[in-house]
């Protein structure tokens, strides 16, 4: 029977009790999830950040794993194969191929000393990543402890500590880094020569060690400020009050209760600090103050390439692209993490 649309007569079948399937459809609640699961799910949905993350993993594999299997070493000078273009074979190598010996191609060519550029770039990426990660780890530890102490105790302690931070913040860091680099070179060389325990540190070169020292002296201030802000907002919460009422020592409260709650912001800040460290190291290596020959860093590779830039531009393009990729990927991952952890961006 056709129902007249203007009629006010009710349809009684609408008033029958609902079936269980219909009841389920009405529930609009999401399934329960923890903070971490939610954050990582949001991170995974961010395609750009995921792509950048994959790029970082690939670069790390190339930097740490591949050089061990690669047929060429970074400091191996092959006579007769100097100044090759990418994928070009030298006369000696062509003769070997003619005889039937397989020669691994130089994907990015060789430099003026016959060293394979692909191998040097991979080692350079390894150095840059190491510097970034270790420097950031140092900054993380020093900065978070300093900021936690300053934020937790407040008052006079906080004021003095923040004044010190302000002063270190306003010191032009590059100036001091360069000064310290040059100043520490000879004392460190003497130290390495006299003390055999530092043997493998010596291969890194005094330049890099100086970079680590100066980073830990100057670069923790940003982290300290951020951690202090977080701690100051966290310490008013009830769990701190109850911990104190139960008689917990200050140190325990900071280490076991407050800092673990800051992990989100610590991770984000650390991830964004890594490209900053790599940036600085690359610039210093470019100026000639980073790694020492023959070890290569991406910055020093660019510096070497400048001399032959008219004829061999590829020597500059390869390390430049690699270092830009590293910095870009870390920035994108850091941005993605920050968005994932930020409760205001939840939809």
């Amino acid at each position: 029977m056709k129902k007249n649309p203007l009629s006010l007569q009710l349809d009684t079948s609408d008033f029958l009790p609902a079936t269980p399937e219909e009841k389920k459809e009405l529930i609009v609640m999401r399934e329960s999830t923890t903070f971490w699961k939610d954050a990582f799910r949001r991170f995974r949905e961010n395609k750009i950040a995921m792509a950048a993350f994959v790029v970082i993993i690939l670069i790390m594999i190339c930097a740490f794993v591949v050089p061990n299997f690669y047929p060429y070493r970074y400091d191996q000078q092959i006579r007769g194969s100097e100044d090759l273009f990418p994928m070009q074979y030298s006369d000696m190598e062509l003769k070997s191929i003619g005889k039937g010996i397989s020669v691994f191609p130089h994907f990015f060519g060789t430099d003026a000393f016959g060293r394979d550029i692909a191998a040097r770039t991979m080692i350079g990426a390894r150095i840059s990543l190491l510097v970034g990660i270790i420097a950031t780890a140092l900054v993380l530890v020093i900065g978070s402890i300093y900021g936690a102490i300053s934020g937790y105790f407040g008052g006079k302690v906080d004021m003095i500590m923040m004044r010190i931070v302000d002063m270190i913040y306003s010191i032009p860091d590059m100036l001091i880094i360069i000064l310290l680099q040059v100043a520490l070179k000879e004392p460190l060389t003497n130290l390495f020569n006299t003390n055999p325990a530092f043997a493998n540190l010596q291969s890194l070169g005094v330049g890099l060690i100086s970079i680590f020292i100066t980073f830990s002296l100057l670069y923790w201030v940003n982290m300290a400020r951020i951690v202090r802000g977080e701690i100051m907002s966290l310490k008013e919460q009830e769990f701190v009050m109850s911990a104190r009422a139960l008689g917990a020592a200050d140190r325990r409260i900071i280490l076991r209760h407050l800092l673990p709650n800051c992990i989100g912001i610590l991770v984000v800040t650390a991830t964004l600090q890594i490209p900053s460290a790599i940036f600085t190291e690359a610039t210093l290596s470019f100026l000639g103050m980073g790694v020492s020959v023959p070890m290569s860093s991406l910055g020093s590779l660019c510096n070497d390439a400048l001399e032959g830039i008219y004829s061999y531009s590829y020597r500059l393009i390869v390390p430049a692209v690699v270092i830009s990729l590293i910095i870009l990927s870390f920035n994108l991952v850091g941005d993605g993490l920050r968005d994932a952890f930020d409760p205001k961006m939840r939809n």
């Binding site: 913040y169 306003s170 032009p172 000064l179 201030v221 964004l272 393009i317 430049a320 870009l328 941005d335």
Partner: protein
């Protein structure tokens, strides 16, 4: 860290603003009616203290280097070395050398270069600083103008193609180190296309490459900063009121929204100046520009003590002073902070 380029500002711009605002608000609440004056006094005081600290650090670091300035040259008889040291006052105890130096400094005498005989540090600094200042100043100007412009365009076209393109360019721009930009630009324009000179600063055209390399990173950073702060400003209620009142779109953007949106950019000027100084080291080395940055690197390598001291303190004074000026300016411009 910090003052260095990738002191990352929050994408929403609230990071940099928040740090500053919280600190300043903390100070504001404990000050009296003439808060601005006492703030200025306090900031200048801290600036002087910082400069003093830097001078001490520089002095003692330079003296940590064993060997001294005369050791790298051909082997000299010890009595000649002693005579040279006496002449330059290097045989006195460290603290006395320091006091002598600072005393002279305050009277305007910055010492004599040990390696470039006959030239005083004053000469060197005064002849090379204007060069660096020109390149740096132009870079800052272009970075700010272009950055603000592109950031506003991106904010106005939020979500559309222009926004996406500008964001991609600026994200890449903050990731690429300045020496990479400089080298790539040099390869493209100097080597392959051969249309721009790459060495020195003789003609006005030769300014293009160095200024462009130096301005690339800040321009990208300011674009992102401006875009996010402009988006924040455009979403505010007062913009809606103004649109309802019938204010023209142009006036809306440049009078109402811009004033608030530009505040984080002004906050960035301090780190921007620090970046320009350090960026000048790289750019001047690559393009062979006779500026203070290149001089600084050279004199550190050759351990020219007085020149290193003077250059470091000079650069530090410039940076710290500029930061103080920017902080004061920021306080004056943002009325929320001036009033209690």
């Amino acid at each position: 860290m910090g003052s260095f380029p990738v002191r990352d500002g929050d994408r929403k711009g609230t990071g940099a603003k928040q740090n500053l605002t919280n600190e300043k608000l903390l100070e504001e609440t404990t000050e009296g009616v003439d808060g601005v004056t006492s703030y200025v006094v306090k900031r200048v005081g801290y600036a002087l203290l910082t400069i003093f600290l830097i001078s001490i650090i520089t002095f003692f670091v330079m003296n940590l280097i064993p060997g001294g300035p005369f050791l790298s040259e051909k082997n000299m008889a010890p009595n000649i070395v002693a005579a040279l040291k006496a002449k330059y006052g290097l045989d006195k105890p460290l603290w006395q050398q320091y006091l002598n130096y600072m005393g002279n400094f305050l009277q305007g005498d910055l010492g004599v270069s040990l390696k470039q005989l006959g030239r005083s540090a004053n000469d060197i600094i005064l002849s090379e600083f204007p060069v660096s200042a020109k390149v740096g100043g132009l870079a800052i100007l272009f970075a700010m103008i272009l950055g603000v412009f592109m950031g506003s365009v991106a904010a106005l076209n939020h979500g559309k193609a222009a926004d996406h393109i500008l964001m991609v360019i600026s994200t890449i721009g903050i990731a690429v180190p300045s020496f990479v930009v400089a080298s790539v630009l040099m390869v493209i324009f100097g080597v392959n296309l051969k249309i721009l000179p790459t060495i020195g600063l003789k003609t006005p055209v030769s300014y293009i490459l160095p200024v462009a390399s130096l301005a690339f990173y800040p321009m990208a950073y300011i674009t992102r900063l401006m875009r996010s702060s402009m988006l924040d400003a455009l979403n505010q209620d007062y913009i809606r009121t103004a649109t309802a009142k019938g204010v023209s779109r142009f006036s809306l953007l440049f009078k109402h929204a811009m004033r608030n949106a530009i505040i984080p950019v002004i906050t960035y000027v301090g780190p921007l100046l620090a970046y320009t100084v350090t960026g000048s080291f790289v750019v001047e080395t690559i393009f062979n520009i006779p500026g203070l940055g290149r001089e600084f690197i050279k004199c550190i390598m050759s351990r020219d003590y007085p020149l290193v001291m003077s250059t470091t303190i000079f650069l530090a004074i410039i940076l710290v002073l500029m930061n103080v000026v920017v902080d004061i300016l920021y306080k004056v411009i943002d009325p929320r902070i001036k009033l209690k």
